[in-house]
Symmetry: C2
Subunit: 349 residues, 2 copies
DNA sequence: TTACTTTACACAATCGATTGTGCCACTTGT
DNA sequence: ACAAGTGGCACAATCGATTGTGTAAAGTAA
């Protein structure tokens, strides 16, 4: 910058203001500065700028881990949206450990990020460490694994709706005894998915049957076990809505192993749209969690708070609408259609 | 920091030096400063520090995208290793676009990162933009999709070895006509996998049969088509080594659809260890690409260059050894064992 | 013409931490 | 006892960009 100033015979002030389009710089001078900056391919030192302004162009992310399908996709959405808005993203993993989460928070604070996006670690019961962020007036948005309450900014998937539309879909296929493979009920996502399931049943006027709700850890193994248990009932179900794709997979495999036709004897639908759901045979109906949209929505909300710039901002909670992906595991067909329906689904990576 | 200095009645110099364990500060004073820093939970402003020192504690990553199995896992490995060494990670996506890659590079430069890790975009043919990084003396390490040559730091998987061990394994199972589903040969990874396959055949004294090598785009569809083509041969193969899991999947599905037993009539092995390979039936033998190790190795190499601190550093290329994961799709068994071998594989997410 | 704006730019302080140099006091060698 | 050495700390410059204030020159209104 000093070089530019020297070459044009003006002060650094003028350079800085010309580049940031300040009103007190004449258009002629602005042009000259811009041209020279291009020529020398001048790149401002973001550290210096951030130090002076007290705000960097960085957004901090804290996620439990970067693996599987969900978090990488959300991060992908976040990075894309942030980058479009001129921000960069610095990423931290808590490894499901509160202590690590706290450390990451400190680091992001000392890196002077413009805002922070957090998905809580599984071991985070006490959320007081986020008070420090708020007391500094630093924009903060939670996503997916959030702090409950209406005094925080948060973006989540509407899990209840996911359970509801899945169950409605199965009902629409003519299923009348719909089982549910539920997840650990102390986690809100699973509680809400189960609630959606119950809501749909009640709406259809069907009596709730406790024996049709099996509580699992969402593993494939327990999906197998659950299906075995269900098929041993005096009145086995004709469909199953699982709160996760892996348990749905296990259930589907066990059903077929016992000679049932999926979907005609047993319709199956899962949750999460894992990559494998398109390659099972039949392909699995599931709920897409809108991972990328979640990332984008989180960034949008964060930018709103950032742009409010300290002005009182009423925290907001955003609930994304899940998308039901109907595939062959749940679409009942006449016998004659079966052959074509079970054709291989192709998937180009 | 000024507060600490005032409270102890010393200069900021002393504070700074006490915290960085400078020799010219007495142990008594160091203790006092440390204790006070704890008490006030003092966090140094990393921007200011980085500005003054000309080096931040940030490592920049440029990847084509953050999706699928590979890149997220590598990033996971990178973040973990970097974090352990006291560095944080700022991540950029090139979206397979050179222009974006160039922009990302500029951004990382202006963010004053301590070093950069890059996996090239697919459209990067001209690599001159990396010259600017080298001319600034900024540590640079490529991984997976690298610039060829021995004047760059790079970490890759030994694809040739992957093809070699896969083919050796199939040979060891008694297969004698082993087909290969190859990928686009202008990409080094696919060329090398094919080379490993050929090396193993030659070593076993088997004649190379051009009709057994099918060139595909690695999609599931083309895997299906390739298997159809292979089975129409006068002398069909008894095994197939695919350079990717998706094409292996297509091949396996088509083989079973035509009534062949996998693995006894047709052994199948893939490449990449995609998540779905454990849930196919039979589970698919494949090559693990050591994603996390690659991230770790890249960080280790980068840290070496950083720690050399401008001293002449001879660029190095690291080749990771792939890991063959033997599963049921390639292990030939006596008929009586088949039932147990095809049992469900469980997978807890 | 005088007084008052407006325009266009420079001066110098500032963000927070780091570091070369200088200074003082005290120890050690001879 | 004097010179040299060393431990412990402060001063002030510095990294590079930003910004409140100051001040000419040019323009406008009276």
């Amino acid at each position: 910058m000093a070089d530019l100033a020297r070459e044009l015979g003006v002060s650094m002030t003028t350079i800085s203001r010309a580049l940031s389009d300040h009103h007190s710089i004449g258009p002629a001078m602005k042009q000259k500065v811009l041209k020279l900056a291009k020529k020398y391919n001048y790149q401002p030192n973001r550290l210096a700028s951030a130090l002076r302004k007290g705000k960097s162009q960085l957004i901090g992310i804290i996620v439990p881990y970067i693996e599987g399908r969900f978090f990488p996709s959300v991060v992908h959405g976040i990075e894309t949206a942030a980058s479009k808005a001129g921000y960069n993203v610095i990423i931290c993993q808590s490894n499901e450990d509160v202590a690590q989460e706290r450390r990451n928070l400190e680091i992001l604070l000392s890196a002077q990020v413009a805002g922070i996006l957090v998905s809580l670690s599984r071991t985070t019961l006490d959320v007081r460490h986020f008070e420090k962020v708020r007391s500094r007036g630093l924009p903060l948005v939670f996503f997916d694994r959030i702090v409950e309450g209406d005094n925080v900014n948060a973006v989540v998937l509407n899990d209840q709706e996911g359970g509801y539309v899945s169950t409605r879909h199965l009902l629409g296929q003519g299923c009348r005894r719909i089982a549910h493979l539920a997840g650990p009920q102390h986690l809100n996502i699973y509680k809400n998915r189960r609630q959606g399931y119950l809501d749909a049943l009640r709406e259809a006027g069907l009596a709730e049957d406790e024996s049709l709700v099996i509580y699992t850890d969402m593993s494939q193994d327990q999906g197998v076990a659950a299906m075995r248990q269900l098929l041993a009932l005096p009145e086995p179900p004709d469909a199953v809505f699982a709160a996760g794709d892996y348990s749905a997979l296990g259930a589907m495999q066990e059903a077929r192993r016992q000679g049932l036709q999926v979907p005609n004897d047993m319709a199956v639908s899962g949750f999460s749209n894992e990559a494998f759901t398109v390659i099972t045979e039949p392909a699995m109906t599931t709920i897409d969690q809108r991972c990328e949209e979640m990332g984008q929505a989180a960034v949008r909300l964060l930018l709103e708070v950032i742009d409010a710039d300290g002005a009182p901002f009423t925290p907001r909670q955003v609930a994304l609408r899940p998308e039901l992906l109907v595939r062959n595991s749940s679409v009942r067909q006449a016998e004659t259609e079966l052959s074509s329906a079970n054709l291989v689904r192709s998937f180009v990576p």
